[in-house]
């Protein structure tokens, strides 16, 4: 729901002078925003650290070979189950594979899963919420009842049922988790739409004969997306945890590919002899979720 898109949409429809004017003012605003963004960032070191960590994980996911000292599956028969050392900062596993490299290579499935899950949750929830909030009446009642029911089935169990039906693997698990995220999104979006729906400018647009779809797209969505954006960031964290749990149970990526959850699961067999194998991937997941939650909290504070 980027505002850039709706700006272009405006520029296409409106007469040229107005478009030029709105563009120039737009860039002024964005320069002011950039400055205030930097100032705000300086005041919130925690959010900056969280942002850098998330960025680091994304870099690991996009180009693992840039950061990983070894290959993700490079076997080193002599150095198995070694503890922390300079050569292997997080130690090695039972096949002598470097743990930190494996973690870096495991970021991609985790990040992809997170994006797929939240993408499904956001797309489904947004459309349900907007339709429900804007239509009102019977449509609203039926859709919200459906949402209530979905909330009555625990997320993990619904995900397990879906995985049973569609099979294992990162994408399947993320779809299952994403479906579970839809109800929450639908509720928040609906609440926002209800708040905006009766504001004077929306009523003005409707009474002046604007089409329903254009009112939704140009007035309701741009003014109700902020809390939804917070929820998206928050749900990145939720999705990582849920996907990690399903991977841990053995339904995620199948060997030899791994994500952070399966690394913890693999480490389970060596808890007594090599506890670091389960420790570090879990720390990486925890910090990622914590970073996401912190970013969401910061966004909420900034919006207020």
């Amino acid at each position: 729901m980027s505002t850039i898109e709706s700006d272009n949409y405006l520029a296409e429809l409106e007469p040229a002078p107005a478009a030029v004017e709105s563009r120039s003012s737009g860039s002024l605003v964005s320069r002011g925003r950039a400055a205030s963004f930097l100032r705000g960032a300086a005041k919130r070191p925690g959010a900056v650290i969280a942002g850098v960590y998330v960025l680091l994980v994304v870099v690991c996911a996009v180009a693992p070979s840039l950061l990983a000292p070894y290959g993700g599956n490079t076997i080193n028969a002599t150095d198995f189950l070694k503890g922390m050392s300079l050569a292997h900062p997080f130690g090695t596993d039972n096949l002598g594979r470097d743990l930190i490299s494996r973690m870096i290579y495991s970021c991609r499935p985790s990040v992809v899963g997170m994006l797929v899950a939240v993408g499904i949750g956001a797309a489904g929830g947004l459309s349900l919420g907007v339709v429900s909030g804007f239509m009102g009446g019977r449509v609203d009642a039926v859709l919200m009842r459906a949402v209530d029911v979905m909330l009555a089935i625990p997320g993990l169990l619904l995900a397990l049922a879906i995985v049973t039906a569609i099979g294992f693997g990162t994408v399947h698990v993320s779809i299952a988790v994403g479906v579970g995220i839809i109800p929450g999104f639908a509720r928040i979006t609906r609440a926002q739409v209800l708040r905006v729906r009766n504001l004077p400018y929306v009523e003005a647009a409707r009474t002046s004969g604007a089409k329903l779809s254009s009112v939704l797209w140009r007035h309701v969505l741009p003014n109700s997306w902020q809390p939804v954006a917070v929820l998206i960031v928050l749900d990145f964290g939720t999705a990582i945890l849920a996907i990690a749990a399903l991977s841990f149970l053995g339904f995620g990526p199948q060997p030899p590919s791994t994500d952070l959850g399966t690394l913890v699961a693999d480490g389970r067999n060596y808890l007594e002899t090599a506890p670091w194998l389960a420790l570090w991937p879990g720390v990486a997941v925890g910090l990622l979720v914590f970073a996401m939650n912190h970013l969401a909290k910061t966004m909420e504070e900034v919006q207020r």
Binding site: V149, L160, V163, A165, L241
Partner: protein, 317 residues
Amino acid sequence: MVRYIIGRVAQALLVLWAAFTVTWIVLYELPGNPVQLLLGGGLGGVSAASPAQIAAVKKQYGLDKPLPVQYLHELWNVLHLNFGTSISQGGRPVSNILAENLPPTLELAGLAVLITIVVAVVLAFVATFVRAAWLRSFLVRLPAFGRAFPTFWIGMLLIQVFSFDWHLLPATGDQGVDSVILPSITMSLPWAFYLAQILIRGMSDVLDEPYIVTARARGESRLRIHVRHVLPNAALPTLTMLGLIVCWTVTEAVIAETVFGRPGLGSAIQQAVQWQDIPTVQAVVLLAALLFVTVNLIVDLLYPLLDPRVTHVPTTL
């Protein structure tokens, strides 16, 4: 009052019916070929079933009939607690598996819910009571931090410390009371932290209320105000979350039972998914939904007794 009760019960039944419908769509209609799964062939696996076997399975689950009939057939079976036969456990009736695995999970979940409430209340109480600023801000932030870590990882950490390092409690198995402690703590921590976050927010709000100032002006001690006024007023709204917490605790049992290798509904469904055992998965999911709905119903019916304002607003039915 009678209208309130009837409304709540009807709503609970509606949710259960809808939960059945959702699981039916997901498990019997979503897979391209449920018969293949029901014969134990797996999604990609080649099943060596004969046409006669296929026909038998289709007849048993009513899959040879049109969709609406299939749906009613399944609904009828479930209403009679006939969940079919398990694939993962050698064709045993699913209801037997449920009956066998329910007690250990309830034992675990019951203790976990208790720990959740105690930990959350103590944490929130101390966090809003202490005066030392550093301790306060640490305690207020602790729940958000703790909640970020995966449950299974926390469980493994506990095993590492309490079983392997200190040899205090068994790491796996289900022998004796000792073996319940670590899994139930593992299950309860994420939701204890969640509840603590909500309680801390509620208690901070109550502290700003005029009646707290009044109580203080009358010379009541801080501790007394905290126990008598702050905690009860903040705790009442969280009661409605009890259903959610029971429900999520049962979900966490899937993780905890797997980590600690205990028998129960959690490990049963984990195994069932591994085998793509549709009847068992459906039965466990429905049982969890039933538990959630029942606890919520009880809370809803108790709530007017604790907070008489509730029944005065019939529109919230």
